[in-house]
Amino acid sequence: MLKLDTYKDWQGNGDELARLAGEILSAEGLPDDRDTLNIRLIRDYTQRGIIGRPERHGKEASYDFRHLIQLVAARVLVADGWPLGKIGEHFSYASEDDLRLLIPSEEKGNKALAAARRLLREKASESTHEQQSMELFPQKSKAKPHRREATTGPTRFRERAAHQTRMQLELRTALQNLGLPAEAPAVEQLTLIAIAPWCQVLVETDRLARITVDEAEEIGRAITASLLSPSVRKGMRK
């Protein structure tokens, strides 16, 4: 069985987490940084969102297997030259299985497992591509993702991050060209009102809370006029 699985039910405090992660990294032939691993580092990683917040029992923080996986995976990536900011960014949406895929030592000496994990990484990578294109460019969400050769976990992770960074740059340029703030796209909360199965109205949610009777009647008349407008109907048929 995998060594990490033997810690599936593990729980402990911050010092124990640091010590155990160090032992696993060392025993598995991964970067030996037991001198760096301590409670301060764990608190720092928690602040950065790399490690999830521990449960508290009084003053004592309690960590479990997921925290252990997060810490081990993070140290693997740090050794691979990966900045902490990016690790935190990616760990925030990574499942436990995703994180385990980043720990190459789990596959050491087991070619079958290495093959299965490689296929899972390919799958995860393609899902990420699909997810990203759905989030940013909904109209392209059905496009078949580009298929590339599989590489090791951390390398694939870097590729994924690089891909995301490139897309964010493209997004900033696109927003500037549209005359919108470059930092981020405009986000608005909308409420969809389905008046009929074939007729829906979108209203700004915060404005909806403040709408007056006169405004509502005015909008009703405008909708009626619009629906009956020959130019609108003609426009729909072109």
Binding site: A112, A115, A116, L119
Partner: protein, 453 residues
């Protein structure tokens, strides 16, 4: 050392002098009889991957649970089992664990509930990962995938999924597939098993599902050699074509099915021997082919059988024609031709070209005249053609063709066919009439297919 007999049997025991020759040669790898060997079997490392999508609700899931229970009951404390289920999400219900407490596995199986859509690829892949965790040379590692549907979530491309099954098989994790009903994607399930070096089965109804599970389980219990590869070395100028639908490795080795006690793995070769090859030989016998067989024994160690050589006399036309063709080679040749025609008919049915289907069936009837088994098999297929049941015909034709082309035969198999005769054989050596029906249901068939006519 596993005592496998490697035999070469040509259609005729000679070649025609002063002519180009085309010659069919049967290569047989025969296992010892079970009674001769009281050998401890290898530990199993099995993963059950069960589709729990909405369409499985009711009897299909109940039957799947019954099959899973049968497997659990057949395993011992040295075997490992993992259970994975999938709908649109995949759950590893039990990671690979020694079967020391069967009741714990039974409880997990009984708790499986139906859900949503069919993430077949991810379900299989997670199953393969579980299997890989404990895969090694001394265990029989296999993923048993059961589904009644189409892969409609995640990766769905047949070629890519099958290629991944091949990758895992080359690392010792094989895949067998079990289709259920008439809505599953038979091309996907068959391709996964073929590339995954496992077995492909289907059950027409939930009631037919236990038979293939039993078949595979009996086979695993009776294995005496695996990873069989026939290494062919034709004489210079001789061309060899493999007529079975076996995978051929990059280095030209033919992958034969795993061999069980009392069984015979076989391949039919078509040798093209140019006249120049025959005339350049001074000796009485013309050397045509050398075959070796590589395989792994029950301890996972590489062994080899052979070499065996094919050397035949060249005879003038009259003497050559006087030689009685070998009956077994003729039978196997007919089976492979029947497999080819069933595949042609299947593709035509998928196109809706029933005229071509009828034409292929006509040819099948002609080929089957000399074989009671083939004749009876084709009668079953004809029922589906008569009522234009595309899905049923397509599935039965595909699995029947696959079985005829890759089946493990019983040693000394007779050309005769009868229920009692077949029923006395190990389940994995029986020649069934319908692949989608349990063996004893064939006997009850009243000649008209049930269901949507």
């Amino acid at each position: 050392m596993t005592n496998i007999d490697l035999i070469l049997q040509p259609r005729r025991d000679a070649i025609l002098a002063a002519h180009d020759n085309s010659l069919d040669v049967l290569v047989c790898a025969q296992a010892p009889d079970a009674s001769e060997h009281a050998v401890a079997r290898q530990p199993f490392n099995l993963v059950l991957v069960i589709d729990r999508s909405g369409s499985m609700s009711g009897q299909p899931l109940d039957e799947a649970k019954r099959c899973a229970s049968m497997i659990i009951d057949g395993l011992g404390p040295t075997d490992r089992l993992s259970i994975v289920t999938f709908d649109d999400e995949v759950d590893v219900l039990v990671a690979p664990r020694l079967v020391t407490d069967r009741s714990a596995f039974h409880r997990v199986v009984q708790g499986i509930q139906c859900g949503g859509t069919t993430a077949l690829h991810e379900g299989w892949l997670r199953g393969a990962e579980q299997a890989a965790m404990c895969a090694n040379d001394t265990t029989l590692t296999r993923v048993l995938l059961l589904s009644d549907g189409q892969a409609n979530v995640g990766l769905t491309n047949i070629e890519t999924i099958a290629q991944q099954c091949g990758v895992m098989a080359s690392e010792g994790v094989r895949t067998s597939t079990y289709g259920l009903g008439h809505d599953f994607n038979e091309e996907l399930m068959a391709a996964m098993a073929r590339k995954g070096r496992g077995n492909a089965y289907y059950g027409s109804t939930a009631d037919d599902l236990m038979d293939p599970f039993r078949q595979e389980f009996d086979l695993l219990f009776s294995l005496c050699a695996r990873d069989l590869r026939a290494v062919l070395a034709p004489a210079e100028g001789v061309r060899v074509e493999v007529l079975n639908r076996y995978e051929v490795d990059h280095d030209g080795e033919i992958r034969l099915p795993d061999l069980a006690f009392g069984g015979e793995a076989w391949a039919l070769l078509r040798l093209t021997v140019p006249r120049s090859v025959i005339e350049r030989t001074d000796t009485e016998l013309v050397h045509l082919l050398t075959v070796n067989l590589r395989h792994r024994n029950l301890e996972g160690k590489e062994e080899m059988a052979g070499p065996v050589h094919l050397r035949l006399p060249r005879l003038p036309a009259q003497a050559f024609e006087a030689i009685v063709p070998d009956e077994l080679v003729g039978q196997r040749s007919a089976e492979l031709e029947a497999a080819r025609l069933q595949e042609t008919a299947r593709l035509a049915a998928r196109r809706g070209d029933w005229n071509e289907v009828e034409a292929s069936m006509e040819q099948l009837r002609s080929i089957a005249k000399s074989s009671p088994w083939l004749s009876a098999t084709i009668r079953g297929l004809e029922q589906y053609v008569r009522y234009r049941q595309t899905e049923r015909f397509s599935k039965e034709a595909l699995y029947s063709a696959h079985m005829m082309s890759t089946r493990l035969a019983a040693k000394g198999e007779s050309s005769n066919w009868g229920y009692d005769q077949e029923g006395s054989k190990a389940s994995f050596l029986r020649r069934k009439l319908e692949q989608g029906k349990r063996f004893d249901r064939d006997r009850d068939a009243d000649g008209r297919p049930d269901g949507d006519v």
